[in-house]
């Protein structure tokens, strides 16, 4: 393709549109961060703004000094995300190895067993009853196990990757007397690092962003993950506004900047991990959606 460096009107227009859309995607996040640094009095006077006159660290100070509930929920989220991601990735990787292992005669039948659950399941109500029956309510396991700990989509992603590895690898290891466990953990998993990273990030994001398990199975504030806490914060505040009429903002309602600060620290890990997310997840998603 001939590369022309000349700037034409059409090209300028393209640059303009692309930049504009990029700003639209980015600015709302910037707003959250700016508001979290804005002085409360300023917000009450002028509303949210990209260019506040008065900055303050008050919201973050309050958050870190006596965050109490926020700190606790944040910690819940971090723990659940870390434990969940590690477990989920292990489960997926192990199952994928067995499905890619050509000496397992029934591997395709078993793959079908997993695939069926992907397209067909009972839905919300049976799932809820099942969780009740298994005792997955009002405890941390309820946030960890249902819904997120294993996904057939990721299983097939990893299995397809493992299938591409040369079969002689497994054969020669077997001749040397290694069993499947050793082959999987010592040879296959290290070779599959890129796809395992993709899958781990999939699980990690799903755990970090999850509030479905919390809304369905947990009622104790001490166990809320931060996402659900944020959601409750808003709906409770609306509720209080309704009760107190136009006056609003009762003494114990969190201030506007404090709310935004909480939202900002919730976005934090995602922004930190963003370079990895882009690198691995995009690859995984493109494979998953284009190649089926």
């Amino acid at each position: 393709m001939k590369l022309t460096r000349k700037l034409t009107a059409g090209k300028i227009l393209i640059y303009l549109i692309v930049t504009l859309v990029a700003l639209i995607c980015l600015l709302p996040l910037v707003l959250v961060i700016i508001v979290s640094f804005t002085a409360e009095a300023e917000i009450l006077r002028n509303g949210y703004s990209f260019f506040p006159h008065e900055l303050s660290l008050e919201a973050y100070k309050t958050l870190f000094k006596n965050g109490g509930e926020v700190a606790r929920c944040y910690l819940n989220s971090v723990c659940i995300t870390v434990i969940g991601t590690v477990l989920a990735t292990c489960i997926t990787a192990m199952a994928s190895y067995s499905l890619a292992n050509t000496s397992v005669y029934y591997r395709n039948g078993i793959a079908m067993f997993f695939f069926v659950t992907m397209v067909f399941n009972g839905g919300m109500v049976p799932w809820y009853i099942m969780c009740q029956n298994l005792g997955l309510k009002e405890n941390y396991l309820a946030l960890l196990i249902p819904n997120l700990i294993f996904s057939p989509f990721n299983l097939f992603l990893v299995r397809n990757y493992m299938r591409e590895l040369p079969a002689s690898l497994m054969e020669s290891a077997k001749l040397d007397g290694a069993n499947d466990g050793v082959i999987a953990f010592r040879i296959y998993f290290p070779l599959c690092k890129p796809i395992l990273a993709t899958v781990a990030l999939f699980y990690g994001i799903a755990y970090w962003n999850d509030w479905w398990n919390a809304i369905m199975l947990v009622t104790d504030v001490d166990m809320y993950p931060i996402q659900y806490y944020l959601m409750k914060l808003r709906s409770d505040q609306n509720f209080m506004k309704m009760l107190s009429g136009a006056a609003g903002g009762s003494a114990f309602a969190p201030t506007e900047s404090l709310q935004m600060a909480t939202a900002a620290i919730t976005i934090g890990p995602i922004v930190l991990l963003y370079p990895f997310l882009q690198k691995y997840i995009v690859k995984g998603l493109v494979i998953g959606s284009v190649k089926g």
Binding site: K2, L3, K11, I14, Y15, V18, A22, C25, L26, P28, L29, L31, V32, V35, G47, Y48, S49, I91, T92, M94, A95, Y97, L99, S103, V104, Y105, V119, N121, G122, G123, M124, V125, Y128, I129, M130, P146, I149, F150, D180, A184, W208, N209, D210, W211, Q227, L230, M231, R234, S235, N238, M260, A263, T266, I270, Y274, L277, Q278, V282, V286, G292
Partner: protein, 306 residues
């Protein structure tokens, strides 16, 4: 390989089967074991009595849903919103992918892509805060602007009529980047020689786009659209519930089957009625998935899901 019995296979590969076990147990419990519970759609289910002890009521639960005035608008809303989401996200993503492809500065391309993708990784709760920052009635940016040009502030959270637009914009904003990446990957895969030949024939960039890129992108566009249409009966619960929540004033424009099922179960506390609606949804959904997959298989053998 010779056929062997399942037990023999397990004996031969004990470690492999052991490694399969956690995933298999999970799929069994949360996949297969949930299916029998679907019969509670025909019961007056109580958590205490279980399936065996609950009273059978025939089609009463279905009757209740379809006779209520909510049925039509909930179903209609789900389909309407989904079709709008699919159409607008697709158009914007394709347009953006083609434009990005025209840009030659690698750095610029990369930075722009990073910006587009960021919203995809945010949870709906965070987006709820962002949305409130923009259209909130008291402090929102949009209302500040309206006020500063002398117009009346709009209280978006009580006016259902704006919400179709709001939801579509938010959805496109969130999903645009990811879809764009898929289309861009497809475009980058096209053969460069085609463009070279076109350039020799004196085609302009616009003509190349019109007669090469767009026609060649069509199969991917149609395939992804067909797959999305297959899920047209499933509303985005996370999105609607996080953005609208229990705000009854907006239900006219925003209530979808999934949020309705959720409310029936958790607020009204009737799992059987919720299951009936959900079963109806699953059946319609199954027909849609099967139908779209049938079309996909006929038109593009590669694109079929199964």
């Amino acid at each position: 390989m010779k056929k062997r019995s399942f037990i023999k296979d397990i004996m031969k590969n004990p470690v492999s089967y052991l490694m399969l076990l956690p995933a298999a147990i999970y799929s069994l419990l949360f996949g297969y074991c949930t299916i029998p519970y679907m019969v509670i759609a025909f019961q007056q289910f109580s958590y205490k009595k279980g399936i065996a002890g609950s009273k059978w009521v025939g089609l009463k639960n279905f009757e209740f849903f379809f006779k209520s005035k909510d049925a039509t608008h909930v179903i209609f809303n789900t389909i309407r919103l989904n079709l709008l989401f699919i159409t607008f996200t697709m158009i914007c993503a394709v347009a953006l992918a083609i434009m990005i492809n025209e840009i030659q500065r690698k750095k610029f391309k990369k930075v722009a892509q990073s910006c587009y993708l960021l919203p995809y990784f945010l949870s709906w709760t965070i987006i709820c805060y962002i949305l409130n920052g923009i259209i909130g009635s008291k402090y929102g940016i949009l209302n500040n602007i309206l006020a500063s040009v002398g117009m009346d502030k709009i209280n978006f959270y009580v006016e259902a009529k704006y919400w179709t637009v709001i939801l579509v914009v938010v959805k496109v904003w969130k999903d645009l980047g990811m879809q764009m990446v898929i289309y861009l990957a497809t475009i980058t895969g096209f053969d460069d020689e085609l463009y070279g030949a076109a350039a020799i024939d004196g085609a302009s960039r616009w003509q190349m786009c019109r007669y090469i890129t767009i026609p060649m992108l069509m199969p991917t566009v149609i395939m992804l659209t067909i797959m999305a249409v297959g899920k047209v009966f499933y509303g985005d619960f996370g999105m609607i519930y996080a953005l609208v929540g229990d705000n009854g004033m907006l239900y006219d424009a925003t209530d979808v089957i999934d949020t309705y099922v959720f409310r029936t179960m958790r607020v009204i506390g009737s799992p059987s009625q919720a299951m009936a609606i959900s079963l109806f949804q699953a059946c319609m959904g199954f027909i849609c998935v099967w139908g779209t997959n049938f079309i996909a298989r006929k038109k593009f053998s590669e694109g079929a899901l199964f």
